[in-house]
């Protein structure tokens, strides 16, 4: 399957601070009553962005100066909790194309990679410095250089790497594995047989 090679993502960034931001927070469960992912973008972080009457709360994603940001800055254990792919789907549809954090919950990380959203890990200090920089100048162009394990902005750069396998999948355009998985049909059949599962 021919997929885009995702070697780097550039754009403006916004920091959504807080440790252990769970996928219920990214997309509250009530918005998962759907049979397609299409409309999820507007509900990303809904309950922390909106009051119950639909008016805006104070939240970085509501600030006009961060509108159009495509790189999400987060802290530690981002995306923990539920396995819902609705979370990365909502972030993607909200406009995010890459996430930088101190650490990611595993299922969320895998879901993002499969959608072609690079998740790169950086140090607390580097994230803080970038956060300060984008808060001072939200128009700052930030580049997540997946291929070179680096994030760059202004005249600064820092190390930000992904799992080796995720990086490889993204930069070679193999982030959606279905094509490759399908190729091994016969190997799978023998393995199923060996494990005692009748076809």
């Amino acid at each position: 399957m021919a997929l885009a090679k995702i070697t780097s993502v550039s754009g403006r960034a916004v920091h959504v601070p807080g440790a252990d931001i769970d996928t219920d927070r990214i997309i509250p469960a009530r918005f998962m009553k759907c049979v397609t992912f299409d409309g999820l973008g507007e509900f990303a972080f809904y309950d922390v962005r909106k009051n119950e009457d639909g008016s805006d709360k104070q939240h970085p994603l509501n600030e006009p100066r961060f509108k159009g940001a495509s790189i999400l800055l987060a802290d530690s254990n981002f995306g923990c909790g539920s396995s819902r792919e609705h979370a990365p789907q909502a972030l993607y549809r909200f406009g995010f194309r890459a996430v930088i954090a101190q650490s990611f919950a595993e299922i969320f990380f895998g879901n993002c990679t499969t959608l072609g959203i690079p998740c790169v890990i950086a140090s607390e200090a580097d994230i803080k410095a970038l956060s300060d920089a984008v808060n001072a100048d939200p128009t700052l162009e930030v580049t997540v250089d997946v291929a070179n394990d680096q994030v760059r902005y202004g005249d600064k750069s820092f190390k930000a790497s992904s799992a080796t396998t995720a990086k490889e999948a993204l930069i070679t355009g193999h982030w959606d594995p279905i094509g490759e998985l399908l190729e091994a049909k016969d190997d799978v059949a023998s393995k199923m047989k060996a494990l005692g599962w009748a076809a």
Binding site: D22, C34, V48, N77, E85, P88, T114, T164, T165, E168
Partner: protein
Amino acid sequence: MGKTLFAKVWDSHAVRTLSNGQTQFLIDTHLVHEVTSPQAFGMLRDLGLKVAYPNRTFATVDHIVPTDSQVAPFADPLAEEMIQALNKNAQEFGITYFSLATGKQGIVHVVGPEQGITQPGTTIACGDSHTATHGAFGAIAFGIGTTQVRDVLATQTMALNPMKVRRINVNGKLRPGVYAKDVTLHIIRLLGANGGIGHAYEYGGNVFDEMTMEERMTVCNMAIEGGARCGYINPDDTTFAYLKGRPYSPTGEAWDKAVAQWRTFASDADCVYDDVVNIKAEDIPPTVTWGVSPDQAIAVTENVPSPDDAKNDVQRASINEALAYMKLPAGKPIKGTKVDVAFIGSCTNGRLSDFREVAKFIKGKKVNPSVKAIAVPGSQIVDVLARQEGLDKVFTEAGFEWRGAGCSMCLAMNPDKLIGDQLCASSSNRNFKGRQGSPTGRTVLMSPVMVAAAAINGSIADAREVFSI
């Protein structure tokens, strides 16, 4: 050198190495529910693919099912649409489907074990993070996203990286009034909500050896709350005794063969773990959460933390955020906090033994009139068995509502929801902001017996005092 169960299962299920270095990993059993599967079936249709091994895929409905009236069509048209989608997908793709009409419906992580589908040494995936539950049987079981649901449907495999294995030993004797739920909450409190990232947790020691299968399921269920994608307990005679005679368990000669093989999956005595944690059973108290992450937990006898206790700015911010959301005063006892709702159920604590244990204590007692208390069996079978023992009567006479099977108020994708900033004493697994359906709703996680104590007391209470345990 010996191998861990994880390594044995990994080696026997690795099909090949993919171009990016990940392993194409075979999934023996795929469990499907209505919320995370419709898009996956849609992707199959778009790609013109079939389900590769329909006999290894099992579906049920749990998340959106109402627990009061389960008569179709559901009052919520979106819920009805999702259930119709699953009906159609199961039929079209030839998948075994435990629908409401079968009498076997329930929370997917209750149904799998109950049917004998969950077996030692197997790999189990499901579009649900609490798939970790099945690790209680010595299976490697974990949650996956919807695109991965597609992968497993289409190929019976997925791309996966190996995990490290952390052995968590709990030895000694649990104190009276301390349950499997307290053990798992205590572990998360000690190791953190992110402590298990990259790891499978192997739970061992005499405390787990002596647990029933249902208790082991409670423990493994919450591995994911500690950041571990899967958690497991080595299979033993307790495991085999539970599985014997279940609908999908092998029978006759095949049973003996299976048991002999299942035994071989247990971690070898001389295996080496990436990490070992030792916990004394006597140190585990009845535990409750006070914040918005499952690792924000304390003994019921302790005070809620204060920002002054924080070790650094990040921790201070997170304590402040949690206290503000939970509307709890810093540094004051959690005991006595007023409770509005009491929920006993979920894939963590919605099994027969949970209701039996609570029933022992609530007989002759009454739920405080200020509390709405609901008991939700994890499956239709749990419901029937509980009724046969008269447990439903014990609960309703005490003032609980006895409901139909489903996920109910654990995640509130159904009519069971908190209203406004109601505080819920809950036997479920997540205390995230808004988790129980109201954006300002508050959740305090605890064991079912502690939920019962809170329900009767009208506020968070030490079950050992309320019930003279």
